[in-house]
Amino acid sequence: MVMTLDLPTFTYTSVNLTPNEYKSGVPPVWCPGCGDYGVLASFLKAIAELRIPREQLTIVSGIGCSSRFPAFVEAYGFHGTHGRALPIATGIKMARPDLIVVTVGGDGDAFSIGMGHLPHAIRRNIDITYIVMDNEIYGLTKGQPSPTSPIGLEKKASPYGTAERPINPLQLVLAAGATWVGRGFSSKPKELTDLIKAAIQHKGFSFLQVISPCVTFYDTYEHFKSITKPLPPEHDPRDRLSALRYAMDEQNVYLGLFYEETGAETFDARYAAMRARVAKPDYGVRDIINKYMR
């Protein structure tokens, strides 16, 4: 008999835990005042309100300050290599669709070394959430400009000012066809919690950019406090072009749910349906071998 290595069947029941009970006990390594503390707090509140069992949640990250995130949450975690958080998360979700998979990281991880994976996660519409803590700087390596840094930013690796134009992450993911797009701010915890909840609940790939300033290398708190504002009520989040217009606004940085497309089929669901279609009862390795028998 050919031995199979079937996974155990996992069942989950929703829990009633406080945000604190989702803390792993590992103290965060971030600088005092880092925006990521706010993101973590809103995240813990969001998963508590969603009553997610700790063993069902898997948090995947790459490399960077914000990628240390999984260690601070009492959940399953995967601290991967620089830039590869999305494909790792894709592998987890495809192998284990029963899990709630959240990918976290920073702007360097997402838009520089890992940029090649972002459009593919979007086109697959895999059912995972991606939270990008954007501080417009490389913090862990001590202050080099990032792909979202503004032109002219003077840092040690750009002593005469950056000469490259920044990426507009929301414009990018909206154009690539993301089915859920939002932007939050670490200093707006209540709104951020709601956005994280909605992103996790979205069936499909949800992209949440969170402005999360770096107090040590690029303190943008005051700047963003002055130019962020909620999306106006007349914006219809089912309207991708309207979402793009607000994302491309150069005077204001809008916060909120930019775009949401419900009912789009996910990669994991589409693959499972295909599998069900082509699966043959009692089909196994011997049948495959027999195809090559002379």
Partner: protein, 598 residues
Amino acid sequence: MHDQSLTLRVGGDSAAGGIVTTGEVFARIAAYAGLEVYTTRTIPAEIKGGHVMFQARIAPTEVWSQGDELDMLVAFDQESIDRYYALIRPGGILVYNSNDGQPPAADYVTFALPLNDLAKTINFQRGRNIITIGALVKLFGLPPDVAITVIEKQLGRRKDLLEQNLLAFKTGYDYVEQHITPTALYRLTPRPGAEKEERLVLSGNQALAIGAIAAGCRFFAGYPITPASDIMEFLAAELPRVGGTMVQAEDEMAALAMALGASYGGVRAMTATSGPGLALMLELIGHAAMTELPVVVVDVQRAGPSTGMPTKVSQGDLRMSVFGTNDDAPHIVLAPVSVEDNFYLIIHAFNIAEKYQVPVIFLSDQDMSVRVQTVPAFDPTRIPLEPRLLWDPNSGDKFQRYKDTPTGISPMSLPGMPGGQYVAEGLEHNAEGEPNYDLYWRTTNMEKRARKVSQAVHEVERLTLYERFGNAEAAIGIIGWGSTIGPVREAVQLAEAEGIPVAVLYPKMLYPLSRALLEDFIAKRQAIIVPELNYVGQFARMIQAEFGREVIALRQFGGIPFKTRDVYEEIKRVHASLKPTQKTLARKQTSTQRRARR
């Protein structure tokens, strides 16, 4: 060895179509008739068109190499005649398309087939390949009913074309019957009852992909690359049928990252690539070693460096596989020796990866990956599957993912198990998997990870992860790896027939190397030849470094396999260079053997 086997080469322009089909179908007809076949082919560098060659060695008993010279050339055009006529052995046969080629006079028998004219008579220009097959079947006296069965099986998908193909077959067959009086031709006679033995006709990549499914692999992610892509294509078709998943990733890093994600989820996972792709995966292989995640990474080696020669063979990725990661990342490197071995060794690869929670690099090569040959039917139950050690949530113990143990292997939890939460951590960490750079945890975990791999070496003896043959007392030894074993086997037979004994060892675990296996073998030899398909003699240098023993690197880096003659002549050269006392020793042993045989 032409008295026992037939080496046939078919050449032509791939734009004309069917060159490889001709060879493949003919080889299958021979296989179905009960003969053993061993094929090899070139793939044109051009995307459409370009010269291609298909070679089949056919014999009543198993053959181990593609054959050094041609017994027969089938040339579809003048270019094929020009390229290959000199390779035909004296007294061999040239079958040529007399509508497109004129052979120079040489010591061979020629048969003219007016292929274009014959195709015109049946109004089927693309039928030249099947006309040729008909002619070959008649020339070699193979059973036409078997040929028709194979044609129906291989080309029967389009019913309208099948009728034309069968007509083409008859046209070629009849032409030979009416125009050529076969004299002193090959008669390929199978062993009695051989056609009833269970034989598979398939390539190394197909064997590997089936082996992966037998090994319980249920997740594959890959990125297209020659010559590994057909593993991905095979699994794209078969994995969903057995409940698995195949994802075509956006690049090689994503491919391995996805496989690691799936493995983290508890599913046996694999990726397959070639040299340039492995180069991109190395960082993640280090990550798998650090996080102790099982995964199998197949590298179907091709000639490099850089893009190199994607359609040509090489064994040049050994050093990258062994030494490629940043810092010491304990992992395993395995190398199969044959098409059949691709099936069985990949099962071992999964077992070792899962049991020791390590990445396993599996070094196949272009030669055995594309080569279609007959192999004994696979037994998917021969190797029992060994699952990974899982944490028991009911054990009452607080879970520690990287708990230090005597073997270094720690029980693993799977997402979904309450209480088993941990982070697969690429930073140095403590037993819980929390980032930690303390000297204690650093040294403890470096040693723990290394301990697993030093345990895994014992699998070499337990699972016989090597091939050993020849004369165990011989003064001359050959230590090799991978697909070079075929020509070595034949060369050793030739040498032994001349009274030169040779001992041969092919380890299949190349990293770490088993001292128990190699030390004794090395100590007994006066001279050791290490044949391999790369420029510097990568394995030779590894053996020298590891065992402090000078070896003779026999190298072929032209993108082609060894010829039997290459190895045979090196054995003779080394034999002649041995000191007289050593030679006497060797001769004495041979004569003792001979006496024993009498």
